[in-house]
């Protein structure tokens, strides 16, 4: 509780604001630099705005018939659909492990937990080797399929169900004659929503952050997510600096939707799940 009598601490507030400024340095820069031509970029003061924000965005849109927007749509597909499917799969598995006693439950859970310890990025090259053997690389599935399974998501869903869905509620539904799937869909799932928003956001960020998987799986740049696409443009920029005036506004446009998503969903977001704690 903040009370009026307590004197504000100038030092503490100052340190916190310095941290905030540190976090803003690259974000304010990308806002300014997006509006610069590639010659202004290296000649005008870093934090001075340029003159060509809209023409940069128009150039980016025109680049190879709107390839950039295709990358954005691909990112939405990989991260959005991938995280949504992942959340559903995690909810089902987490519910089964939290609320049923069945033979093999302990073994299944331990195997899944071992998966938490082998992080997704290290798996990208092994996944590539398998998908190459099956001839499935360079397809949407090559990125989407490995993104759906999330041992960490299952782990979080299990914690959440066992803490927030009382056995009595399930028992009552069963006494009323509801079948297992119906209990899950109409009783358990609605009670899990806050936990599932958290699982969704974690998985969304994990997919969107996993650069290596699409980087190795995809050869056709029409399938790229925006991260792989922009890093390719940056590579070309080493030879032709004109590319920089595409890369920088591209970086700005790519982070805006995610920032909006976070601002929108942050109230539902339960970070304490990450620490394995649930308030009951």
């Amino acid at each position: 509780m903040k009370t009026a009598q307590q004197k504000p601490s100038l030092v503490g507030t100052g340190v916190l604001l310095v941290g905030a400024v540190y976090c803003l340095i690259p974000v304010v820069w990308v806002l300014m630099a997006s509006s610069k031509t590639s010659s202004e970029l290296f000649t005008t003061f870093t934090y001075a705005p340029g003159t060509s924000l809209f023409s940069n965005i128009a150039d980016l849109t025109a680049y190879r018939d709107g390839l950039f927007w295709r990358w954005m749509a691909n990112t939405g597909l990989y991260a959005g659909a991938g995280a949504a499917l992942s959340t559903l799969v995690s909810a089902m598995a987490g519910y089964a492990m939290a609320k049923y006693r069945f033979p093999g439950r302990g073994a299944l859970f331990n195997i899944l937990l071992a998966g938490v310890l082998v992080p997704g990025v290290i798996l990208a090259v092994p996944q590539y080797l398998l998908f190459a053997e099956l001839g499935m690389t360079n397809t949407y599935w090559a990125v989407l399929l490995p993104s759906i399974i999330s041992p960490y998501g299952i782990y979080l869903a299990r914690i959440y169900v066992s803490a927030s869905v009382p056995d009595e509620v399930i028992e009552a539904a069963r006494t009323d004659g509801a079948q297992d799937w119906r209990i899950f869909r109409s009783v358990v799932l609605p009670m899990m929503v806050p936990g599932l928003v958290t699982v969704f956001l974690f998985q969304f960020v994990a997919i969107w952050n996993n650069f290596l998987l699409p980087y190795v799986m995809l050869g056709d740049d029409k399938l790229f997510p925006v991260t792989v696409g922009l890093s390719g443009l940056l590579n070309q920029g080493a030879q032709q600096p004109a590319m920089y005036s595409l890369v920088i506004p591209g970086a700005l446009l790519s982070i805006l939707p995610l920032l909006a998503l976070f601002l929108l969903l942050q109230r539902f977001w339960q970070v304490d799940l990450a620490a394995g704690a649930v308030k009951s």
């Binding site: 290296f42 089902m92 492990m97 069945f102 439950r105 937990l113 092994p126 982070i255």
Partner: protein
């Protein structure tokens, strides 16, 4: 499947199923609920791991000049790929480099995260809503994009710091110079990770009942003493957890150095172990060496983080097994 029947005997003997009327039957529903997760786990995690382990024991034997069909055959290689990985100076230096990188990133990132979390939690600090949002914001920026942004800010022609220093007549060292590039990459990781860890620690702090401090305040404890003597000891488990997650992320660093490479000559293609795996698999087309290195890296990560899970598992499920 024999273990399943054994489990059945012990499970029915010891554990009460949630529904009393179903005591004798094996429920079918939980298996149905588990099918998608298990199928995807097998396909996307288990089989790739096993296949990679298999490839790590194989090699290609070249006959003659290696031309024509049948001149290159895959044969068993024993542990020779592992021998090559573990004695490869590139691998050893990438491991040492990444350990050094971790020693910079983890203490700085968690130290700052703890400091900011304590400040957010302090009754005397203002502007907390704004700062919390802004410091957390980098979490929404993927590593590729944040590396791209910082990469430009490191270029002397763009850097506001170089510019500011020139105004007062100082020449700053270039952040991507050979001795400093590790810190340049570490800064990107710190920037991206501080906010998330701050929120995790802040949430743990908020869960502490405030009457604990009231007593201390009445006894004349300062805010600093309360933080040091009460708050930090209580959130030690959260600090351990964030450290282990930090370790896992550090070992698999790939995106940041890969994105910075076009902007500097001081990042080699084997800067981190994962970059070396990429190079072996895709530049040198030696998937056998890449497989062996992948296995070594995965095992190392597994071993390092195993202790953490034992810790969390016991704590998190205490309520369920009551």
């Amino acid at each position: 499947m024999t273990s399943v029947t054994n489990d059945l005997v012990s499970a029915t003997a010891q554990k009460d199923p949630p529904s009393g009327s179903r005591r004798a039957r094996i429920p079918r529903a939980p298996y149905v609920f588990m099918v998608p997760a298990v199928a995807l786990f097998v396909f996307s995690i288990a089989i790739p791991i096993l296949y990679t382990a298999y490839l790590s024991l194989r090699t290609v034997k070249v006959e003659g000049l290696g031309l024509g069909p049948g001149a290159r055959t895959e044969v068993w290689a024993g542990l020779s790929n592992y021998g090559r990985t573990l004695s490869d100076p590139d691998f050893l230096s990438s491991v040492l480099r990444v350990l050094g990188y971790g020693l910079v990133v983890i203490p700085v990132m968690l130290g700052l995260a703890l400091l900011f979390a304590l400040l957010l939690d302090s009754v005397r600090v203002r502007a907390t809503r704004f700062s919390r949002l802004v410091i957390f914001m980098p979490y929404a920026v993927p590593a590729v994009i944040s590396s791209l942004l910082w990469g430009f800010l490191y270029l002397p022609a763009v850097s506001p710091f170089t510019h500011a220093a020139e105004q007062v007549g100082i020449t700053l060292p270039q952040p991507m110079a050979p001795g400093l590039v590790l810190f340049a990459i570490a800064n990107i990781a710190v920037w991206g990770g501080v906010g998330f860890n701050m929120i995790v620690l802040y949430t743990a702090l908020k869960a502490i009942p405030s009457d604990l401090y009231e007593a201390a305040r009445i006894d004349g404890c300062s805010e600093l003493q309360i933080a040091w003597r009460i708050k930090i000891p209580i959130i030690v488990p959260s600090l351990i957890m964030t450290s282990v997650f930090g370790m896992i992320t550090t070992l698999q660093v790939f995106a940041e150095p890969t994105v910075l490479r076009p902007l500097t000559n001081n990042i080699s293609t084997s800067w981190s172990p994962l970059m070396m795996i990429y190079r072996d698999a895709f530049t040198r087309n030696d998937i056998y060496a890449a497989s062996a290195t992948s296995v070594v890296l995965a095992v190392a990560t597994f071993v390092l983080s195993f202790g953490f899970l034992r810790l969390v598992q016991n704590r998190a499920f205490a309520q369920e097994n009551r």
